[in-house]
């Protein structure tokens, strides 16, 4: 934990000297997994898929090169074809992605936590939509979608969410 805080302080200090929002979001992405339970799977690694967001993918890869998510080795995978989503635990959908609703509807029954950082287009489609508002990190949770995918989001997370879609 301390290393993240350290990083956080580091990132904020970077922010003072123009730390990128992407980097902050990349750090916090891992935090969500603390309070989220996936149904059992046989994957050895924790597969994080990134859809159409090279910058975020790079930030993640920089930070989590040899780290773990939920005690599992992290594999970060850039998805080229939005119609072919592999069996990843977490799918980060980039801002540039077209027809997000279609992507979501295709994987809505699979245990894939969908995360986005676009608070306008994707708010009610992905399970977690994170954003910075007045320099504070906020997120909206679509618990309905999570429940459909049998992903259990902790009440702690729900409680501190800016908005929860039930």
């Amino acid at each position: 934990m301390s290393k993240f805080i350290f990083l956080f302080i580091f990132l904020f200090s970077i922010n003072v000297f123009a730390v990128s929002e992407t980097q902050i979001k990349a750090v916090f992405l891992e935090k969500f997994t603390h309070l989220i339970e996936w149904p059992k799977d046989n994957n050895e690694d924790f597969l994080v898929c990134i859809l159409q967001d090279g910058e975020f993918s790079k930030a993640l890869k920089d930070i989590y090169a040899s780290k773990t998510f939920k005690n599992k080795k992290v594999s970060i995978l850039d998805i080229k074809d939005k119609n072919k989503i592999p069996n990843c635990q977490l799918l980060f959908i980039g801002k540039e992605t077209e027809e997000i609703d279609k992507v979501i509807s295709r994987i809505q029954d699979r245990a894939i936590l969908t995360v986005s950082d676009d608070n306008t287009k994707t708010t009610h489609l992905v399970m977690i939509n994170m954003f910075l508002q007045k320099n504070r990190f906020k997120y909206v949770i679509n618990n309905k979608a999570a429940q459909k995918s049998k992903i259990k989001i902790s009440h702690l997370l729900l409680r501190s969410a800016q908005e929860v879609i039930k």
Binding site: M1, I5, I9, L156, S160
Partner: protein, 531 residues
């Protein structure tokens, strides 16, 4: 406690009930307060722990997302929790992440914490509660509460104050009740005591206590009244008994008086009898004396008779010889040879005559001396052994006709006396007469021994004989008057009594019968040299 003993029943009752009441109330209040204190303390602890855990729960996401503002917002909720002085959220390094303190709270608290386990401890007036911030076994930090625990005793004090007020009300109410109710208990007792006191003062046992209730005290009234009745009855009986007693006493007095009169009469009679008896006794003593004197006279007469008879014979020789010589002279036939024979015969006769007359004269002189002694009571000086010989010389005649020998065993030294010789002579004669009369049969042989011995300032005179001895039946009363075994043979029974009296009263000596002696009788007299 002694002071308490002397209090009135009323006071005792009130004090006892109040003491018990107050003690019970205080005990009850103490238990309640202790219980309440413990309960309050536990409640405060539980509540604070719950709150801190809640805050810890809320703090997971702010810590997770390094959301200090969010943490501050959560800590703001603490404001609404009473008693919490401060709340601090620490990160997993033990550094302060966010904190809140009441505006009036300026206490320093530790900047860092090291342990992230749930705990609580009392420090000074604060309860410090640590609740770890964790989720799924992952610890993100801790929440530390500083809770003001002074509220517990404060609350207890106010609770105690309310209890005290309640107790006061109970005590006052109880006091009023006791004052009202105690009358039912004490009034009958006080009344009974009053009645008892009145009766004790007036001694009027006809008074009765008026019963109030039918409780134990009521029974006491009944018993008291029945006791009074008994006392009254007893009083009556005593009065009757006294009346009877007075009657009897008067009667008794009369009887006593009569008895006294009778005793007086009898005493006079007895006195007269005694006088007569004393007269008789003195007469008897006199007659005894006379009898002793008579014996003496008879002895002396007999003694004197012999020399006088010889003298008469000598005198008749004189007469015959003188007649013979006269006849021869008238016939002128008086020869020288006849005259020589006459002179020779006369001379012999004269010698016999003078000798016997001298003897008679001596006897008479002795008799005179002794009889004078016996009849006189004068004290004079004499030598005992010599005097005893003189007395015995007058007694020889009596021994002459008896086969009894009188042995004298006198002390070699002279025994000078200054005493009553008459008494001694009478004693000796009495003792010898007694020995002859009682000790031996008329023709019985035997020895009477008369012994004298010096002993200190006295002389011992011992009469012992080889006779029959003293009858054991009378041995212990032999010196009493009228004791004799020869009443019908001329004994008066006064001999030894007179002897005893003479020795004790006149001579200031003593006489005992030596009963250890096996043969005959043995009397030991001890007579002082000088009266």
């Amino acid at each position: 406690m002694n002071y308490f003993s002397d209090y009135s029943i009323k006071s005792k009752l009130i004090i006892a009930i109040l003491s018990i009441l107050i003690f019970s109330l205080i005990s009850f209040a103490t238990f309640v307060l202790i219980g309440q204190y413990n309960r309050n303390s536990q409640e405060l602890l539980n509540e604070s722990r719950l709150q801190s855990q809640l805050i810890a729960d809320y703090s997971v996401t702010p810590l997770l997302f390094s959301d200090i503002a969010g943490a501050q917002e959560i800590l703001k909720k603490v404001e609404n929790i009473p008693n919490v002085n401060s709340a601090t959220i620490y990160d997993d390094s033990g550094n302060i992440f966010a904190s809140y303190a009441r505006s009036d709270y300026h206490k320093n608290y530790s900047k860092n914490i090291k342990k992230f386990v749930s705990s609580s401890e009392q420090v000074d007036k604060e309860l410090i509660i640590i609740s770890p911030v964790s989720h799924n076994d992952q610890v993100y930090g801790a929440v530390v509460f500083h809770v003001d625990s002074t509220q517990v005793p404060k609350a207890i004090w106010s609770y105690a104050f309310v209890l005290l007020l309640g107790m006061l009300v109970i005590v006052i109410f109880s006091l009023l009740m006791i004052f009202r109710l105690q009358n039912y208990i004490t009034l009958p007792i006080i009344n009974l005591a009053k009645t008892a006191q009145e009766i004790s003062l007036s001694e009027d046992y006809t008074t009765r206590a008026q019963k109030m209730y039918s409780d134990e005290v009521g029974h006491l009234y009944d018993d008291f009244n029945s006791m009074l009745e008994k006392i009254e009855q007893r009083g009556r009986e005593r009065e009757e008994a006294e009346t009877i007693s007075h009657t009897y006493q008067a009667h008794l007095e009369r009887l006593t008086n009569e008895l006294e009169e009778r005793v007086k009469g009898r005493t006079v009679e007895l006195q007269e009898s005694l006088d007569r008896l004393q007269n008789t006794q003195s007469q008897l003593v006199e007659s005894e004396k006379m009898s002793a004197l008579g014996g003496l006279v008879a002895g002396v007469a007999h003694e004197v008779n012999t020399p006088l008879g010889i003298s008469i014979t000598a005198a008749s020789i004189f007469k015959n010889e003188i007649k013979t010589v006269k006849d021869l002279l008238e016939e002128n036939k008086l020869s020288k040879s006849a005259l020589d024979h006459f002179i020779e015969t006369i001379s012999e006769a004269d010698e016999i005559l003078i000798k016997n007359l001298d003897r008679a004269a001596l006897l008479v002189r002795n008799f005179k001396k002794i009889s004078v002694d016996q009849s006189s009571e004068e004290v004079r000086d004499f030598e005992l052994n010599e005097y005893l010989l003189e007395v015995i010389s007058t007694f020889k005649n009596e021994l002459k006709h008896r086969p009894v020998e009188l042995k004298l065993d006198f002390d070699n030294q002279k025994i000078p006396m200054h005493s009553y010789p008459g008494a001694i002579s009478q004693i000796v004669v009495n003792m010898l007469q007694n020995a002859l009369l009682h000790g031996f049969e008329h023709d019985q042989e035997g020895v009477i021994t008369l012994t004298t011995q010096h002993k200190d300032e006295s002389v011992l005179i011992i009469f012992s004989d080889t006779g029959k001895g003293v009858d054991p039946d009378i041995a212990d009363k032999i010196f009493e008057p009228f004791i004799t075994t020869k009443r019908n043979k001329g004994g008066t029974g006064l001999g030894l009594n007179i002897t005893y009296n003479l020795i004790n009263q006149h001579l200031k000596g003593s006489i005992i019968l030596d009963t250890d002696n096996n043969v005959g009788a043995r009397f030991i007299m001890e007579i002082p040299y000088s009266v």
